[in-house]
Amino acid sequence: MDRDDRSNTGAWQGPKLSVDLAGVRLQNPLVLASGIWGSAAGTLARAGRAGAGAVTAKSCSIEPRRGHPNPTVLQWGHGLINAVGLSNPGAEEECRELQAAKEQLGGTGVALIASVFGETPEAFAQAVLALLPASVDLVEVNISCPNVAAELGRPFALDPGPAASVTEAVRSVYSGPLLVKLSPNAPEIAQVARSVVEAGADGLTVGNTLGPGMIIDLEARRPVLSNRVGGVSGPAIRPIAVRCVYEVAAAVDVPIVGTGGVRTGADAMEMIMAGATAVGIGSALEDEGEEVFGRITRELDQLMRQLGIKSLDEIRGCAHV
């Protein structure tokens, strides 16, 4: 048993939920996924105070981007579809928000993760450089957004070579903990994972939205999203996200943030059994907001007690049979 699990008297304190994500200690494995609740210091800090182990800001680029016109984010019955189009205020403004978020999170022990994207590997690196003054705990590199293909081209995350080029470019300017966010759309996600880890990633977020998908309105006789297509998230994609985490965990030896459709403690435990160290929570905020973090943590704790699991380390990747 870990030292964490004992009080001074040596009595068992209950299951150990804290995890180590690429050298950063999280009080619990739940991570607010990028793009949920934006990048405002106030909302990020609120998610943190409500019990997230870490919070991820929305992906930002060097220059501001407006994103796509509405409709951009819709509930369709089994999750969400979105084509926000990576709208963001640009790295300079983002850096100020992250600094403020860091301040507001001071003393809570909640880790802050920045997220960046760009059109070229160099643009990714520049965005990371612009955010350095915020001294975030981890940087996540988003190479996997599926709904900006028209402007940004084929996502880097689909192929091992381009994915590694971005990772290398960022690694050359940033020595802190680095996550790369993969795409469930990659035909060979394990190969992409291997090349990204070889290029210097300390951990992987697996993964982004699936798709793109499309919703057509029968009366309007046209796709609902102004971008026509968008990334699919929520319960509909969970089994695919779990399989992706499973394949990636078998291929590489770095921590994984298992992300896609998680809504309950059981879903989170499933991700961890597939090999995840931490678990991303995104679309699940649609119903309950930040209370989702406390609820999933309680459910996970309860399940661990029921199943006699003392620490998440005990079950990580145990489904690899």
């Binding site: 800090a45 926000v84 609902v224 649609e286």
Partner: protein, 249 residues
């Protein structure tokens, strides 16, 4: 329901609303609390938040300020609109004598509050403001409900010259309201907050921010640590004015 997302309504009647505005009555109802809003899509144009001006039948009031609102104002009988919602938290109504203060298109957030409150046996008075008389909206709706309206215009073309905050001064002095409910331009709401600071009158304010999802996911509508679409659009005055008013403590 013609997709997994929207309910389609047809315009049953249209009313010109001062210069550059319109009220639309639609061909169905939508259960909503006063102060809630809907996301309205015009295919090929845009999707934007609009207040539920009335819920049975669903009615909307629009001020023409840009591409979407312009297209809405040009809709005619029989034209269709795509609606999702309602979203957000509306007005918390506990008081007996309610003073409503509205400006611009924000007035549309107050009409359902007024009619619902009258049904519940509360007393309602309203102050409506605009820059000039031709920009005043929805006065007719309060007349229909038999609610006394105080008007204020910057140029004095209708009612008192000045702001709604000036116009309600006599009612405040007389100690008439138990609570104040407002929706309008932010400078108006900030001024109202300052006037009421130090009194123990509860103040509820309805805010606007640009929205993408409307249901608390994208973060686009944040106001401090609050999400206008989910935690609002109606907030307790003090809670938001702390963030917005540079003079608040």
């Amino acid at each position: 329901m013609c997709s997994d997302v929207y309910t389609v309504y047809r315009v049953v009647s249209r009313r010109q609303e001062s210069e550059g505005g319109a009220s639309l009555v639609l061909d169905g109802s939508l259960r909503a609390d006063p102060g809630q809003f809907v996301m309205v899509w015009l295919p090929g144009i845009e999707e934007r938040p609009l207040a539920v001006m009335n819920d049975r039948p669903l009615s909307l009031t629009i001020r023409d300020v840009g591409p979407f609102t312009h297209a809405m104002c040009r809709l005619q009988e029989g034209d269709r609109v795509w609606v999702r919602g309602p979203y957000g938290h509306g007005f918390d109504v506990r008081s007996r004598r309610m003073l409503l203060v509205g400006g611009g298109s924000g007035i549309a957030s107050l009409t359902l509050l007024a009619s619902r409150s009258l049904d519940e046996g509360r007393e309602v008075r309203v102050a409506l403001g605009a820059r000039t008389s031709s920009q005043l909206m929805l006065g007719w709706r309060f007349d229909e409900l038999g609610i006394p309206v105080l008007y204020a215009t910057d140029d004095g073309t209708v009612g008192a010259r000045g702001t709604t905050v000036d116009a309600i001064e006599p009612l405040l002095r007389a100690g008439w309201p138990d609570a104040v409910y407002a929706c309008g331009p932010e400078p108006m709401m900030i001024a109202l907050g300052r006037r009421l600071r130090g009194t123990d009158l509860p103040l509820y304010l309805s805010f606007e921010r640009t929205m993408k999802c409307g249901f608390g996911v994208c973060g686009n509508c944040h106001l401090g640590d609050q999400l206008v679409c989910r935690d609002g659009p109606v907030f307790e005055g003090e809670k938001v004015l702390r963030v917005l008013d540079p003079l608040a403590e």
